[in-house]
Amino acid sequence: MAETRTLGEFLVERGVSRRAFLKYSSYLATLMALPPSAAEAMAEGLAKARRQAVIWLSFQECTGCTESLTRAFSPTLEDLIFNFISLDYHHTLMAVSGEAAENARLQSMAENKGKYIVMADGSVPMKDGGVYSTIAGRTNLETLHETAKDAFAVISVGTCAAFGGLPHADPNPTGAVAIQDIVKDKPVINIPGCPPIPDVMTGTVAHILSFGKLPELDDLKRPKAFFGETIHDRCYRRPFYQRGLFAKSFDDEGARKGWCLYEVGCKGPVTYNACATLKWNGGVSFPIQSGHGCLGCSEPDFWDKGGFYRPLPTPLASVREHVTEAAAAGAVLGGAAAWLARSQQNAYKSETKKPEEA
């Protein structure tokens, strides 16, 4: 529903003071590693912003991303974000509403033309006319085209939406593609992760609200503030890596001592995400802290990169069979070369002897 009040006005009516903005902004500034002084500017920006209309589309997905986001809905600071946005349509949360829900989407699109944000989770099937995922009798592709047309920006939530994710994994039976493969004429922000960190989702939206523009993105269109460093860079086990102390299996002495999980397949060094700093479940832990290597879930095709337990520096393909063939071929050519040289020598010998004998 088109909102005319600023967030400041809206919240003041609900008895939320500006201190809340400042506190939330301080929190976001910490999350996004913005300079502390940015918090005040951010708070001012938020107060002046309009409530943001958001349309949430779900395609080929597992609802894990939504779960992740709603897990942040404990009565804490972060739930402020839900005062900042107007979630006009959420397919999963509204599933029972049928036709009425679809109408809500169309109404919001009309009222907030060019201003609403589309948040999409899940990949879009392209094979066989996109029949593998439909909502209200329409393919995901149609829905996405229609909804994205008048959007301000599209935020791809989760690795499926950002890079194709699991549906896209080999052999990709549905011909699944990422949102960015379809939406070419609107700004796209990818917030990958399987699922993404809730604070990263809310932080990105808050950034757009307070600064009125997209955050700085990396080459995979991920907000640099959250995806600027690898898990490895920020991992508390990094010192063990430097000292060459590695767990060799999940139940050895090294694992018990909390040594680096590089050798049991941790993808931390090539995975850009904020897990090691923001952590999960209200800051309790993250996979490496819980004793398992990073799967690299915020990277494209993480499912097809040779296995979660295959250490990074090892070859992905089996080289040994080809090596045998190569050795055999080399042996044949080596033998042939030696044979050639020997027969050449014999020819020289008989040639050079001739004149003398003659």
Partner: protein, 144 residues
């Protein structure tokens, strides 16, 4: 206690010497405040400080005259350290988790000051109260 948790604890008890670095930064910010009136903020949670570092810093800065609690989306604690103009602010979410932690160098932290917009709203509310229509106003605000 599992090995992992123990390691975390160990890692959190290391002295990274960041407390010293932060301490040395504070007088610089104080001088700037005196010279230009500009406030300064150090975000303690975006620095890779260990718990030990933060405890060390808190001990060194100590507590001064002012201690304020602000209840908004969880509790925030604002303490003036034993050094005038140097404030320690800890923002907690409603679940008690620390959301942000700062050292602010200012005459008073912005966070403590009432914002004109809030004053304006408050004045409206008070005026409404005085004009007798207060009940409706308070009732509405109660939702927040």
């Amino acid at each position: 206690m599992g090995g992992t948790a123990m390691t975390t604890l160990l890692a959190q008890n290391l002295n990274s010497e960041l407390a010293d670095a932060v301490l040395r930064e504070i007088p610089v910010l104080m001088q700037r405040l005196l010279d230009t009136g500009e406030t300064g903020t150090i975000d303690l949670r975006s620095l890779p400080m260990t718990d030990w570092d933060r405890r060390q810093l808190a001990t060194r800065l100590g507590e001064g005259e002012v201690k304020a609690f602000v209840t908004v989306g969880g509790t925030s604690t604002v303490i003036e350290t034993q050094f005038a103009g140097v404030w320690w602010i800890r923002h907690e979410g409603a679940d008690g988790r620390i959301a942000a932690e700062q050292v602010v160098v200012a005459r008073a932290p912005e966070f403590l000051l009432a914002h004109p917009a809030d004053i304006e709203a408050a004045q409206r509310r008070l005026s409404a109260l005085l004009s007798g229509s207060a009940e409706a106003q308070f009732g509405e605000a109660g939702h927040g």
